[in-house]
Symmetry: C2
Subunit: 264 residues, 2 copies
Amino acid sequence: MESLERQEHGSSAQPARRPRVRRNVTASIAEDICSERYPSGSILPRENDLCAIYGVSRTVIRESLKVLESKGLVRGKPRIGTTVCDKDDWNILDQDVLEWMGPYIAQFDILGSILEARRTIEPAAAEYAAERATAQEIADLDNAWRQMRDSSDDPEGFTEADVTFHKVLLSASHNQVFRRLSSAMHAGLKYALHASNVAAHSRDEAIIVHGELVEALRLRNRTAARDCAHRMLDLAARDLAVERRLEDGRRIKPETSKSAAADR
Amino acid sequence: MESLERQEHGSSAQPARRPRVRRNVTASIAEDICSERYPSGSILPRENDLCAIYGVSRTVIRESLKVLESKGLVRGKPRIGTTVCDKDDWNILDQDVLEWMGPYIAQFDILGSILEARRTIEPAAAEYAAERATAQEIADLDNAWRQMRDSSDDPEGFTEADVTFHKVLLSASHNQVFRRLSSAMHAGLKYALHASNVAAHSRDEAIIVHGELVEALRLRNRTAARDCAHRMLDLAARDLAVERRLEDGRRIKPETSKSAAADR
DNA sequence: GGCTTTTAAATCATCATACAATAAAGTTGC
DNA sequence: GCAACTTTATTGTATGATGATTTAAAAGCC
């Protein structure tokens, strides 16, 4: 409202190319929701006002709102308006939603949930992968592992390789539910630990364990694979804990850990 | 259901009330995709033709397609048309998608994946629930359990109570990822075993185990809770296996278990 | 004749406007 | 003062036009 002007439509002078705006508008609105500019429970501006705010026609605004509605972020009722849903209703397993939450994800305290889920799921996935992984998948894992090893002093590349490793691992479980969850795990990995904060020796340990997991898959050793996955996630948990300590130190207010669930 | 002539648009004579059509149109298109009327890889009719087919304006068609696209069912490109995505790209964790797949879900061979996922996730969820469940949640579980017990000879009601039981259980884990997965588990429960096919003694066993789980949660006994969840899912797995045998017996052609993935 | 470039056509993407349906708020009648 | 009616604002849907983009045909060049 106050300082809006989101897109490049600034001065109405230039013809203002508008190819494929909808995706961007959807993301813009979603981001404004995630950033609490439109907090949960509030109703966002009328569609006509949204047209002015985002500089597009009502068609685009509507299509965007319908997409957001289909992912549980908002809920439109005739004559009333479009209200922002409670965060519990959001489809946080949806890849788009996770991307939109992106930087704000830390404020939704779902990183802990994601890590817990990973600790539950990835060992099982590793076990299934030990049974079912194809030679190609094992090769892909090996490649990802090599890339991790070769970029042990490049946090960016390391994280990227780590992400693909876990993506391929979940895929190699040949379980469609686990496969679909990889986007959530991805977000957990990507945003949980801003790569730079993870100590180098932590990366070294991770490389060792990841390598052992690949070897276990080659040998079709289910229990070893499960064990490696467990250890990998212990490392991740430790890093997240470190991260949290840093975070808590940065902002003064200490936060009781579990009281957030009762706020509704 | 199958042959219904999608809407009431048949003869153009009557005024044809059209409030809130979009949701229905979206579901109709989705169903036509799930039923393979528009198989994966094919491109569906032009938007203008879709207007005629479903008897609505292009606005509605577009909004519907955008929603479907946002859930990974289709993918539209300019000039090309809207192509049906491969099933691997579908958001099978999305509640709407699962509902649309509904009766056809058995053909997507994801029931096995869902059961596997449940066996992985629900024991962990039970363990967390033993720590974190509120008194209210335990009471809700108890209610669901009583309803299961009281409708032990009413397959419909039994399944319904079973579904809510597992929904509440996942919710009581206070893990947002698990909570979100309950829709998938729901579909797994609802369609995996057409209630009537499950033998009565199977239900009796289930009632016992569910009751023990509630008790374990009351006592905050994590290992007992996990154990009960395991046993519950062993029962479910057995029922699904029975179901599969029946299914395989019904249609003559015997099917090698894993070859279905290669049919596309 | 074969290859490259240009032009054209088809279809999606967006816009603008209009009408219908709906539910809140205001108004009138008693 | 309350109930029924009317007004009005906003979303839902319909319609047609324009712009953008890619496939494909047509034209030009060697």
